[in-house]
């Protein structure tokens, strides 16, 4: 199980990388951590003619703690997020979801931005980005653009980065005050692909009533699915079990999951309800201390 031949390019600057990608056009494929790409290459499910290795572009490394967001450079490995105390404090949803990504040896190489670009519908990072209303910065030889999460994911394993565009960073907004978050997922095995994952983001008013609530689901559609539960939950006390259940039912009814080897569509929809209820309540409880 060996990859097909390819030519290897190692740009030394972002500019050189963009020029290289521009020149290679559809024949060029970016490799960051490679933890999703190389398995496909080893199976020869993809056989890129040219690999543009961005691992040596120090300018793409580093987590930046901006005022309202955690900005994650394209070379930031999952393990760096996991270890970053400020991420845990400022963006607990991100911190809570990262350890669910595969195993330590994958997290120490795989990049968070790479995971977004790979756009696996069962993956944690795309759902978290959507849940937080984040964005991805794309650059090309022609310029740059910032794409909101809701527009970034086009389908299963398909994002909106065009030929010649490189995702250089992602911004994970820091939740506003009185906001709690939670990531829950069910996988066949810990570290395995999620059967269903849910990110809940709940903002309370000063009277501990729900002001805004969303659930974002992984594993139940071709892209992460964000369902706004605000209408059901608004004005509800944060710990109202029945209302959270009703909200989770509402959220679940918006989903159209598929069958696969590991779970039926019906079970996935059921999980989406269970996890949304649990995650919503958990996020709401956390919001009381936020």
């Amino acid at each position: 199980m060996k990859p097909a031949p390819f030519d290897y390019h190692r740009p030394r600057s972002l500019e050189e990388a963009l020029v290289t990608l521009d020149r290679l056009g559809t024949t060029g494929t970016v490799m960051a951590g490679g933890q999703s790409l190389v398995p496909l290459m080893n199976r020869r499910e993809v056989s890129p003619a040219n690999i543009v290795d961005i691992n040596f572009l120090v300018e793409l490394s580093g987590i930046t703690h901006e005022d309202r967001a955690v900005r994650v450079g394209a070379l930031v490995r999952h393990a760096e997020l996991e270890r970053d105390a400020a991420v845990r404090r400022r963006n607990p949803l991100l911190a809570e979801a990262v350890p669910h990504i595969a195993h330590a040896a994958i997290r120490s190489r795989g990049t968070t931005v790479g995971s977004l670009v790979h756009a696996d519908p069962t993956a944690e990072m795309p759902a978290v980005l959507v849940a937080l209303g984040g964005s991805v910065e794309l650059r090309s030889a022609a310029g740059g653009r910032t794409v909101p999460a809701t527009e970034f994911f086009l389908g299963a394993n398909r994002c909106c980065a065009a030929v010649g565009e490189l995702a250089v960073a992602a911004s994970f907004p820091v939740p506003p005050p009185r906001t709690g978050t939670a990531w829950l997922e069910v996988a066949r095995q810990r570290g395995g692909r999620a059967v269903c994952g849910v990110a809940a983001v709940v903002t309370l008013d000063t009277g501990r009533r729900v002001e805004r609530a969303t659930a974002t689901y992984a594993g139940v559609g071709a892209t992460p699915v964000l369902v706004d539960l605000t209408e059901v939950m608004t004005g509800t006390r944060f710990d109202d079990l029945a209302r959270w259940r009703a909200a989770a039912d509402e959220g679940g009814s918006a989903l159209a999951p598929a069958d696969d080897l590991h779970a039926s569509a019906g079970y996935r929809r059921h999980l989406a309800r269970v996890l949304a209820e649990r995650a919503g309540r958990l996020a709401a409880i956390r919001a009381t201390g936020a």
Binding site: M1, F6, Y8, R10, V38, P39, N42, A105, R109
Partner: protein, 161 residues
């Protein structure tokens, strides 16, 4: 297909090797540089037998084209021995706790546990379980591996008892 001369430090020794772009680090270590402890069990990053340390962090060598880690320090199980060439602390613990049966996953376990104990020198039993959860073992049922992690983490370095 492009070819590249790369430089690796493997277990502290500088190695210069010419590889085709597609050559996986696992194959480069095993077949170009004769570090055969790096075993290949799935080439999908799932089994973990090929795990090595790259600049101290555990990584699947089957998921790294060698050229992408040009300039890095690689540690394999051979490099986890004691300075005198005998078994290192983790290796001793694995033998002592019967954590070795067929031996195929063992090198991946060794480097994973070494890296884990650097980050978490006094693990709980649950953390010790997590330390070996990224490598599949088909022989031991894992309990003896968890015991080995805890044994290696003892304050006396698993030297006694």
């Amino acid at each position: 297909m492009s070819e590249h001369e790369i430089e690796l430090s493997v277990n502290g020794r500088r190695q210069v090797v010419r590889v085709p772009a597609r050559r996986l680090l696992s194959d480069c270590l095993r077949h170009d540089l004769a570090f055969t402890s790096t075993h290949v069990g799935c080439e999908q990053g799932t089994c973990g037998a090929c795990t090595v340390l790259v600049d101290g962090a555990p990584m699947r060598s089957c998921l790294l084209p060698a050229v992408t880690v040009d300039g890095c320090e690689i540690t394999t199980a051979e490099g986890c021995r004691a300075p005198d060439g005998g078994l290192g602390r983790v290796q001793r613990a694995l033998v002592r706790c019967q954590g070795v049966q067929c031996g195929f996953c063992t090198p991946g376990m060794v480097v994973s546990i070494v890296a884990f104990l650097r980050e978490c020198p006094r693990p709980s039993p649950e953390q010790a379980r997590d330390a070996v959860a990224g490598v599949l073992c088909r022989c031991t049922g894992y309990q003896d591996l968890v015991a080995a992690v805890l044994h290696a983490a003892r304050p006396d370095g698993g030297a006694s008892g």
